[in-house]
Amino acid sequence: MELIKAFLRRPAAASILSLIGVLAFYVVFGGVDLFKLAKAASWVNFAANLGIVAIPVGLLMIAGEMDISIGAMIPAGSITTAILSGYYGLPMWVGMAGALALGVLVGTVNGLLTVRTTVPSLIVTLGTLVGMQGIVLAAAVLLTGNASVTLAAPDWAKFVFGQLIGGSHQVIILWWLGLAAIFAFVLHKTRYGNWIFALGGDKVSARNAGIPTERLTITLFILSATAASFVGMCQAIQFNSAQVSGGMGYIFNAICCVVVGGVILTGGFGSVIGIFMGTITFAVVAQGIYFTQIDRNWSNLIIGAMLLIAVAMNESFRKLALSQVRRTAKKEA
């Protein structure tokens, strides 16, 4: 009993329960073959592309901020790579550096505007979202005369960022696993992680405790924008071309993954494992429906229902966790 309670108090609990629930639903009502689903690449590829963006977005949400400009940064990263290395024929690393530098730049702008003003970061990044969409489109059309740019990546870049392992699994999955491990270590084992939780819990107290809150916020925005342009860069290398559109779907999808993963929007609570599990759950719901007999038109309905149920679970589990903390505190006193 204590074991179950201890499990439920963890931020990842709801996402694991949701995953089990979704799989059970698909098996019972959709007749899905779990082995076939486990071997399939489609949902893992989907999860990896989304997960690389969802983790830093989740860290921002733990810190009490929001970044929706990622929707523009994914096409921005891929178009920058393709214009520099494809259209202008510069070395591959220049295109990659350009894409990542753009991420750093936009992240810095987001971060600076958020810490220097009282404007909520949702609105700040809505502004950079729309602005970057225009800049990316206009730049692509002005520089290349086309809304899609082709790119022939050299073999080493293909191998590192764009190969298909076993002919179906994108190599970006390994990047996702690696980045998840690094982020998990930073958030849960280093003082920077404690700072992030402190920032989301109470910003003023965090600053009074000597945490460089402004620098930390800007760094987190840089991480999320750069992660998005990294995903765009990998997509350009893999598919040999970059499109100016696409990416808008990532905004709500990433927020869904993070929230299903047990992060609360008001900040101060969450875990990387939770976000990771939330991403897997979301990907299984969105892509797994193709393995069921359920008409895929219902997938959005299932996503909506799962999101609300998972969030409701999170809320009640968090109350459980808080009451436990209070009880322990009382006992110690």
Binding site: V119, L122, G127, T128, V130, A138, I255, D295, L301
Partner: protein
């Protein structure tokens, strides 16, 4: 001396009003595109194109703005719009029932989704952003699934009768859609509700401090549900006018309205933190947004510059609101 001070105070008060910045932005943007677009833009082709757009977005932006003044967000409007137009098309097009039943059904869908949003927001601690993302996905899925189930395709056609077309879909002079007049009507109505009735004071109080608002005896739960039903209704209304104007309804429509409506509201000087804003500001913000969006096609510039201008406008608007608000607060503190 007295005259001078009142004049000075009057000007100061004007500059501190929430809509001052958005009015300035609107004028600047209009002059900019008038200079580039010339006769066509300042004539009826230009006016009708941005007014038509402003009417559609503006109808949704008004209640979304009220929600934001009260400290809430509504993402689900992007899914309610196609849900309502498909309801109309399925009831009156596919099943060939009278159109007034279809219109009633479409509007009822909006009110229902709004009620669910409001009910869940007031009964749980889930933030409204997340909650309405959930209902957005849910309504999107239901719309798509039910449409395929009933009609067998993602687009449904409808032939509106003359009277309904005159009420919801007429175009004056072939250019100015009747939606513009509906929008102006809604503006007057919402203006009265927010700025002239005690109900409006409640909305501001709710956005300023929810706890104190409830302690002061304001029925905060009922108020929140009313606000969400209002935004659901508005989105459904635009869906109804669209399906009657174009004679068909598509499943994949409306998602652009989510961020566009929020942008109109923010350019209009409403802060997301709640408690501040005005209907006139939202109207100015909507017009500004529509002028940029449509004016770009008259200007000879690359259409993509429109997005850049809107992004810049949005950031300028929020930054200047920030300054204006600080000014206003400092002023009232000094008093």
């Amino acid at each position: 001396m007295t005259v001078l001070t009142t004049h000075k105070g009057g000007f100061g008060r004007l500059a501190r009003r929430p809509e001052a910045g958005s009015f300035l932005g609107m004028i600047v943007v209009y002059i900019f595109f008038a200079a580039l677009g010339g006769q066509n833009f300042v004539g009826s082709p230009g006016w009708s194109s941005w007014l038509n757009m402003a009417a559609e977005i503006g109808t949704i932006a008004l209640p979304v703005g009220l929600l934001m003044i009260a400290g809430f967000l509504d993402i689900s409007v992007g899914a309610v719009l196609p849900a309502s137009s498909l309801t109309v098309a399925i009831i009156s097009g596919h099943f060939e029932l009278p159109l007034y039943l279809g219109v009633a059904g479409g509007l009822a869908v909006g009110l229902l989704v709004g009620f669910v949003n409001g009910f869940l927001v007031t009964r749980t601690t889930i933030p409204s952003l997340i909650l309405t993302i959930g209902t957005m996905f849910g309504v999107m899925g239901l719309t798509l699934g039910l449409t395929i189930l009933i009609a067998g395709s993602t687009g449904v056609f409808i032939v509106p009768d003359t009277l309904s077309h005159a009420i919801f879909g007429a175009a004056l002079g072939g250019m100015f859609q009747i939606g513009i007049f509906w929008w102006l009507g809604f503006v007057a109505l919402i203006y009265g509700m927010l700025h002239l009735s005690p109900w409006g004071n409640w909305v501001f109080a709710l956005g300023g401090d929810k706890e104190s608002a409830r302690n002061a005896g304001i029925p905060t739960r009922a108020l929140t549900i009313q606000l969400y039903m209002l935004s659901g209704f508005a989105a459904a209304f635009v869906g109804v006018t669209q399906v009657i104007t174009f004679g068909s309804a598509q499943v994949a429509a409306g998602s652009s309205f989510i961020f566009n409506a929020i942008m109109c509201v923010v350019i209009g000087g409403v802060t997301l933190t709640g408690g501040a804003g005005s209907v006139i500001g939202i109207v100015f913000g909507t017009i500004t947004f529509a002028i940029v969006n449509q004016g770009i096609f008259f200007s000879g510039l690359d259409p993509n510059f429109g997005s850049i201008i809107i992004g810049a406008l949005l950031l300028t608007a929020v930054l200047s609101n920030d300054t204006f608000r600080a000014m206003a607060l400092r002023y009232s503190a000094r008093k």
